[in-house]
């Protein structure tokens, strides 16, 4: 992450909050005029523009506030899976984490028969 990114992230979050507030456009409530392009009453034109701006803000959110850290925890699971794969005889071990059952131990099962405890990691 580049050093300016956390600041940008905060700005993008503020932008999102501002956008939510701007949805309540009480100032257009009773107006028809101006008719944008001769066919769109101002109240509708505002919300069309709002949708376009929302897409831009979402782009900014994806660009500068993407939760990329979520991948690192998953990568660690997959790396350990591939390490086991290269150490074992089975050419294509499949990682299939058991989660069924009421009180079953949650473990990683590999098709070469070994089991591994799930590593800790963040979901938030």
């Amino acid at each position: 992450m580049n050093p300016g990114q956390p600041k940008l992230k905060i700005w993008v979050f503020l932008l999102v909050a501002g956008l939510y507030v701007l949805h309540q456009d009480f100032w257009n409530w009773n107006d028809v005029e101006p008719l944008v392009f001769g066919i769109l009453p101002i109240g509708l034109a505002y919300h069309v523009a709002y949708s376009l701006v929302t897409a831009l803000v979402m782009w900014a959110l994806v660009k500068w506030a993407w939760p990329g850290h979520l991948i690192s925890a998953i990568s660690s699971v997959e790396n350990r899976s591939s390490q086991l794969q290269s150490a074992g005889n089975n050419p294509k071990p499949v990682c299939n984490f058991e989660i069924e059952g009421r009180h079953k131990q949650r473990t990683g099962n590999f098709s070469d028969g070994r089991k591994e405890e799930l590593p800790p990691g963040g979901c938030a």
Partner: protein
């Protein structure tokens, strides 16, 4: 007759695509329910959008605009265009991550592991299913009604419902999620184009073009309010901005989040979602308003677009556009049926020993049998029950799912949250909805006519509880406002008062 033939050909194609997906199946639940978590970004976007769009987006939006005017777009579309992508960004990506790490296929599996709870997970499961099932049934009803209308009344409603139920069953029974998403690609493109094509054709054909029609509406004092929001309360308008929080809580949407191949698959969806909603809703709302001039005095305003198409579009184009509407019906209904099957298979059958006893392939068989049974039951219920009952239930479902959202937020973000907090929210939502139903029925006799101001339900309480033409309000706000506020408070207070999960569990989900 031509539109009906085009739509029937389309339904046949949908069924064949679903059956073709059967050949690619791997015979395990992860493949059947989640297409082996392999959806790329474009497919994920098209499929997630199809999952969330129903016939209401096309027919209901134009019907609402026919009565309430352009305000419907801001009320439901532009707010959804903001809140839904945000919920996908903040909650959907994290659901995907826990699903990928721990193998969860349903949100209830996550709650059970996150809060070390068993029966409380079952309570949340029960509330979820109760809120989902009416939505599933009304989709079949909507499909039957659309086919009946498109055929000009030739195709009976019961046969229309049966056709929709059959195509959905074939699609999901054989193809699982893979069958559904293959069809979704085709469906979403159809209904994304629907509005623009319909608007282009109708604008060429109406007298004087769109500009003259709008001027005519603006100059008539009776119709002018359709171009403003003067008949819409600002409190109601704001309340509606909370409803889209329900989207990610609908199980068919949450389960879709588990099916993405990578986290990057969410990026296109987050950015394109507002534009896609605009592409569907703007032409429909606009045409609904224009329809007040070209099709005056309609009793069933939801049929305004179909009426306009039958008057202004060539029969074969009306057929293709009709297929676009049916796409919206099928796209969401297939995912609802599959989600119901996923919940019953994973959260009940497998959780209470079915998987250990019968194994993986029998779980898939259970899921398929469940799909057959649930669509048959939904079809029969659709035939014998009045639609208005389910319309009410679906309206409640949106408020209910929105009020459940603090559960997911707390599970993903708040270490200190507890299973008792989640239980309190689930009970609060159940009790609130039961109370709302009672108030709705109690106040039916005093409900004002559409367009008239709301009346107090209990005069001694003043404006605390009021009844408008169709709904209950609290100080002028929709029920979703106190329900959501109550859920957030209960989740916080009850969690702080009760014992949190073990340190090991918290570390498992939160340590970096």
């Amino acid at each position: 007759m031509t539109p009906l033939i085009v739509v029937c050909v389309y339904l046949g194609v949908v069924a064949v695509i679903g059956a073709a997906a059967y050949r690619r199946g791997l015979g395990n639940t992860e493949d059947f329910f989640l297409a082996s978590r392999g959806l790329g970004s474009v497919v994920f976007f098209l499929s997630l959008f199809a999952t969330n769009m129903t016939a209401f987006s096309i027919l209901g939006s134009s019907g609402q605009a026919y009565h309430h005017g352009i305000g419907v777009y801001g009320l439901m579309a532009s707010s959804s265009g903001l809140v839904i992508p945000l919920s996908i960004f903040f909650l959907g990506t994290r659901l995907w991550a826990v699903g990928r790490r721990f193998g969860f296929q349903t949100p209830v599996q996550f709650y059970r592991a996150r809060w070390e709870c068993d029966h409380i997970g079952t309570v949340i499961f029960a509330i979820t299913v109760i809120l989902l099932v009416p939505y599933m049934i009304i989709s079949i009803m909507g499909g039957g009604r659309v086919l009946h209308d498109i055929s000009g009344g030739i195709l009976p409603y019961a046969i229309g419902c049966a056709l929709v139920a059959l195509v959905v069953t074939v699609n999901v029974f054989f193809g699982g999620l893979r069958g559904a998403v293959w069809v979704n690609i085709f469906q979403t493109i159809l209904f994304l184009l629907f509005g623009t094509i319909a608007l282009a054709i109708i604008s060429q054909s109406v007298q004087g073009g769109l500009s003259e029609q709008i001027q005519r509406i603006a100059q008539n004092p009776e119709t002018k309010p359709l171009l403003t929001r003067e008949n819409l309360s600002q409190r109601i308008f704001w309340s509606y901005s909370l409803i889209p929080l329900s989207s990610i809580m609908f199980p068919h949407m949450a389960i879709m989040c588990f099916a993405a191949k990578t986290i990057d698959a969410f990026k296109k969806t987050v950015v394109l979602y507002p534009l896609a909603i605009m592409a569907v809703w703007l032409p429909c709302v606009y045409l609904g308003v224009i329809g007040t001039q070209t099709e005056p005095g309609l009793k069933n305003s939801d049929g305004v677009l179909l009426q306009m198409l039958s008057h202004y579009a060539p029969a074969w184009i009306a057929g293709i556009l009709g297929a676009g509407i049916i796409s919206a019906v099928l796209g969401s209904d297939t995912h609802q049926v599959l989600a119901a099957s996923t919940l019953f298979t994973k959260d009940l059958f497998n959780h209470y020993g079915g998987h250990e006893k019968f194994g993986e392939s029998k779980s898939v068989l259970f899921a398929r049998v469940f799909i057959l049974v649930v669509t048959c039951v939904a079809y029969l219920v659709a035939l014998i029950t009045p639609m208005r009952i389910f319309e009410l239930a679906v309206r409640f479902a949106f408020s209910g799912f929105a009020a459940l959202s603090p559960v997911l937020v707390a599970a993903l973000f708040w270490r200190r949250s507890t299973k008792y907090g989640a239980l309190a929210v689930a009970l609060w939502v159940g009790i609130s909805l039961a109370g709302l139903y009672f108030l709705q029925k109690y106040s039916d006799s005093i409900a004002p006519m559409p367009g008239q101001p709301p009346v107090p339900i209990f005069p001694a309480l003043g404006s605390f509880l009021e009844r408008s033409a169709s709904q209950i309000t609290f100080y002028g706000f929709l029920p979703v406002v106190p329900m959501l506020a109550g859920s957030a408070v209960l989740m916080t207070v009850v969690s702080l008062l009760t014992k949190q999960p073990s340190k090991a569990t918290i570390e498992k989900f939160f340590s970096k």
